[in-house]
């Protein structure tokens, strides 16, 4: 410390420009700009969000905007505003509780009720939203809604792979006249093959050529076959992605604009449905089962059933499908020899036999692939929906493995492969966690959380003002700036969600943020006691407190980062506000409060001040 002050005085001697307690103008500019931007970013949250019903042009509502309003008013639903832009209509309601009611009322006038969606619309004035600022996203515990955690069971997928290979091996043995070959399947895909010594090389060759993704190891007279680890991971990723895709499309039908479907961990899917109050309806949609079938395409509608394709054109197909989806073992998109996109399909042995029999008699004729989904409607009745997803011409006799070309681009082929795999639905999905938060409880949580924040902030402000008197109000300004920064950041960071534990983190930040100022002020008091002038004490106080502040905040930062990385949902919300709070409190406590003190007390050299 002695060396420090010597250096300073030297520096002052040689460089007269270095001023005590002086921040250059650009620093104030940075401070003011940051605060203004963050304040603007925090403002929309203050206004909150209004419940709304979104009507897309496809819904086919014949009413004019004024008629919509009068219809709603007739049913005692208060409409705040109605925005009509590019044929998209947004009906903004006064009362969130009437959102579902309004939707069902409008649904009676719509041709396609599925095109009506529940939405939230920021209540902030247009000029603010026009600048790109949005309110903070609220977690389910504050907003109300349903949350599911689904577990995708991968074991059956591996099992199917194993049994398909077992079938293929047996068929191979029959063709090659190998006697005494037996295949046993383990718990997952692993196979143990027992065979005569002579046939071993042949089997190995067959494996290397036809099934390169399998690992072959010999053990005495047996061969052990297992999928390579990379392939297992690949299969798992494909399966989970396929389920994610299915869930996304299904949830779109529920009409919730802000629904969240994301992968969690290895084989879990998290679904958050804000605003949904009835988990039963959502559950039946999530739990719908999908199947797939190949049909012979008929020339005329007589003796055939009509299934619509994607564009709505009816395709006449035979009543009985050639093959249904449960025989599909695998389907993957690829690029063929001619550079066109194709879908490679693998069937199990029975499916292969049927397909071979059928295709032998129908070369040159079209075959249709239909996708159907069973789900439960609002009344709990099973509903089936059918759609032709592709029509392809049979070029030759189809074995167990064949490819479909002419599906369009590579993306289209991928989509088809996804649907084909979805049709086989080999990975059962179970709901392992379900949480419902009623809208009243959500509102109550917000109210309680912010009441606690207001009380905590109030007490702290009063205490600091009384305890540190003239420096206290600096700390209070810094604390308020800290809150503005924190709310601004939460609104700005994409993916940041405010949860109830997150609010607890905010309240905790209020108590801990003043620590930075307290450390500095106590150092300043020490220096004053040593008989320094206020301006010098301020300079020394800030300098000597910095390393302590950094150390103290760093350890809390460690726990915040660990919590964010390992925790999930609400806990992540807590970690987020705690961590961000530390950063903003460093900024406001060291930088902003120094800027204020420099202006006000920076040139005060009196020695008999008390702080």
């Amino acid at each position: 410390m002695i060396t420090d002050s010597l250096l300073k005085s030297n520096a002052r001697g040689s460089q007269p420009k270095k001023l005590l307690n002086h921040y250059s103008a650009w620093k104030y500019l940075v401070l003011v700009v940051t605060l203004v931007v963050m304040a603007l970013s925090a403002l929309p949250t203050w206004y909150g969000e209004d419940a709304a019903v979104q009507i897309s042009p496809k819904a086919g509502i014949a009413l004019s905007p004024t008629q919509i309003v009068s219809e709603l008013v007739k049913a005692d639903i208060l409409v705040k505003r109605l925005d009509s832009k590019d044929q998209q209509t947004l009906v903004i309601l006064n009362d969130e509780g009437q959102q579902t009611l309004a939707k069902s009322l409008l649904a009676t006038h719509a041709q396609d009720p599925a095109e009506l969606t529940l939405a939230l619309s920021p209540a902030a004035p247009e000029w603010l939203l026009g600048m790109g600022f949005e309110p903070i996203k609220l977690g389910l515990d504050l907003r109300g809604g349903v949350q599911f955690l689904l577990d995708v069971d991968i074991t059956p997928v591996y099992q199917t792979q194993g049994s398909s290979l077992a079938d293929a091996l047996r068929a191979f043995a029959r063709e090659q006249g190998i006697r005494g070959l037996s295949v046993r399947q383990g718990a997952e895909e692993q196979l143990t093959v027992v065979m005569p010594e002579a046939a071993r090389a042949e089997v190995r060759q067959f494996m290397a050529k036809q099934y390169p993704l399998w690992q072959v190891s010999s053990n005495n007279s047996q061969l052990k076959l297992a999928l390579t680890e990379a392939e297992k991971i690949n299969l798992r990723n494909l399966t989970v992605q396929q389920n994610l895709q299915i869930m996304r499309t299904r949830i779109e039908e529920l009409g919730i604009t802000e629904a969240l479907v994301q992968r969690q961990g290895e084989s879990r899917i998290r679904i958050e449905l804000p605003g949904v109050q009835d988990p039963a309806a959502a559950k039946s949609v999530i739990g719908a089962t999908a199947t797939l079938a190949f049909y012979e395409v008929k020339d005329s509608a007589t003796g055939a059933i009509l299934i619509k394709d994607k564009t709505g054109n009816p395709v006449p197909v035979a009543r009985k499908p050639v093959l249904t989806g449960e025989h599909i073992v695998d389907a993957r998109a690829g690029i063929g020899e001619m550079g066109t996109a194709e879908v490679n399909i693998t069937l199990d042995s029975e499916g292969g036999r049927r397909m071979t029999d059928f295709s032998r008699g129908h070369i040159g004729k079209p075959m249709a692939t239909a996708y159907s989904e069973y789900s439960r409607d609002a009344n709990g009745k099973a509903v089936q929906s059918n759609e032709i997803i592709s029509v392809a011409t049979i070029q030759s006799v189809l074995p167990e493995r064949f490819r479909i070309t002419g599906a369009g681009s590579y993306q289209d082929a991928q989509q088809l492969a996804l649907l084909l795999r979805a049709g086989s639905m080999t990975a059962p999905v179970t709901i392992v966690e379900e949480r419902t938060i009623g809208p009243t409880l959500g509102a109550e949580n917000i109210h309680n959380g912010f009441a606690a924040l207001a009380l905590g902030l109030g007490i702290t402000l009063v205490f600091m003002a009384l305890w540190y008197r003239r420096l206290g109000w600096v700390a209070n300004l810094a604390l308020l700036a800290n809150m503005v920064l924190l709310f601004g950041l939460l609104a700005l960071i994409p993916g940041a969600v405010l949860t109830l534990p997150g609010i607890a983190g905010l309240v905790l930040t209020v108590g801990m943020a003043v620590d930075t100022n307290v450390l500095i002020f106590e150092r300043i008091r020490d220096k004053l006691r040593e008989g320094r002038a206020l301006a010098h004490a301020v300079d020394k106080g800030f300098d000597s407190a910095f390393s302590t502040i950094f150390d103290a905040n760093f350890t809390t930062m460690i726990t915040a980062v660990v919590l964010y990385a390992i925790g999930n949902g609400p806990i992540q919300g807590f970690a987020l506000t705690l961590g961000l709070g530390l950063l903003t409190s460093m900024f406001s406590g060291i930088f902003a409060s120094r800027a204020i003190i420099n202006l006000v007390y920076g040139k005060n050299f009196s020695r008999d001040v008390r702080v």
């Binding site: 949480r435 409880l441 801990m512 620590d515 302590t548 150390d551 350890t555 390992i566 970690a575």
Partner: protein, 298 residues
């Protein structure tokens, strides 16, 4: 009164109290165990609002019969508001919905929230929580050993363990529910307790370097005295805001606020008592922080 002369005695006395408390705490945890919340055990928790005239006595048998198991029933906040907890239905089985079960009771049933957690998920969350605690501890140890001499660091770590164990013991003794939010609080306490210890340790280090002649116990006393005002003010404001959370935050944050409150309280206490006494017993001396003269020529 505590003054500079008898401060060492007070410090040793409070350290002894800390150690005794810790032994008692560990035995409480061992004997009573924690009341693990739904997040860790799996099961169903529902919060409902019904007519306030219906008592637990009439409610219990109806629920028991409907679900075929013991249903735990806790009054929540206002009259007519209940928290129900029971085991999750096994795979393939469905349980009757609450409004159906209570249909015969002649009351409006409002389900405020429902959580269903599968046993597998609970197990995973518990493992994740343990992992988080472990990783946070290791990271902190790593940082401390880099920043401080090991004797000084050991005091902070001991204080830390002391605080966490005390909070856990409180939850074991009162059998309050230990859920994910309380776990988050325990992790936050890890950070907070260290905060206090580090600020005192920083001062000790500074004084050891500045006054190498002084006895370590006096240096410790001086360091505590120098940081005492700060310790009290920061702990005070933090405790005040936590109290605000406790009073206004409502049921979901109650466990969190209580855990934090106790954690901050013991955190302050332990950083002054064991946090400084342990390095002393381990033989901390100014040798470890002697200022090595900087070479004149680079």
């Amino acid at each position: 009164m505590i003054n500079m002369k008898n401060a060492t005695k007070w410090r040793y006395f409070s350290s002894a109290v800390s150690v005794i408390l810790m032994i008692v705490s560990i035995s409480v945890i061992a004997v009573k165990g924690l009341n693990w919340g739904l997040d860790f055990t799996g099961g169903v928790v529902s919060e409902i609002r019904i007519d306030s005239s219906i008592s637990a006595k009439t409610l219990q048998p109806v629920l028991q019969q409907a679900y075929g198991q013991e249903v735990s029933l806790i009054a929540a906040g206002e009259p007519g508001r209940w928290v129900l907890r029971y085991a999750a239905p096994s795979a393939g089985q469905t349980m009757p919905e609450l409004p159906e079960v209570l249909a015969g009771m002649n009351t409006q049933v409002e389900v405020l929230n429902t959580s269903i957690v599968g046993p597998q998920v609970g197990q995973e969350l518990a493992e994740q929580g343990g992992l988080a605690l472990l990783v946070a501890m290791l990271c902190i140890l790593g940082y401390l050993s880099y920043r401080f001499e090991w004797r000084l660091a050991s005091g902070a770590v001991f204080a830390l363990v002391h605080d966490v164990i005390f909070v856990l013991a409180f939850f074991a003794a009162t059998q309050m529910e230990f859920n994910l939010t309380v776990l988050a609080a325990v992790l936050a306490i890890l950070g907070y307790s260290l905060n206090d210890s580090i600020i005192i340790a920083d001062r000790i280090r500074e004084l050891l370097a500045a006054k190498p002649k002084l006895a370590v116990k006096d240096i410790n006393n001086q360091a505590i005295a120098a940081t005492f005002a700060r310790t009290m003010v920061t702990s005070g404001t933090t405790l005040m805001t936590i109290s605000a959370l406790w009073i206004m935050g409502g049921g979901p944050l109650e466990g969190f606020s209580i855990a934090m409150f106790i954690g901050v309280l013991t955190g302050t206490f332990s950083s002054i008592s064991v946090g400084t006494s342990l390095p002393e017993w381990l033989g901390l001396s100014s040798e470890h922080y002697r200022v090595t003269p900087v070479a004149q020529t680079p």
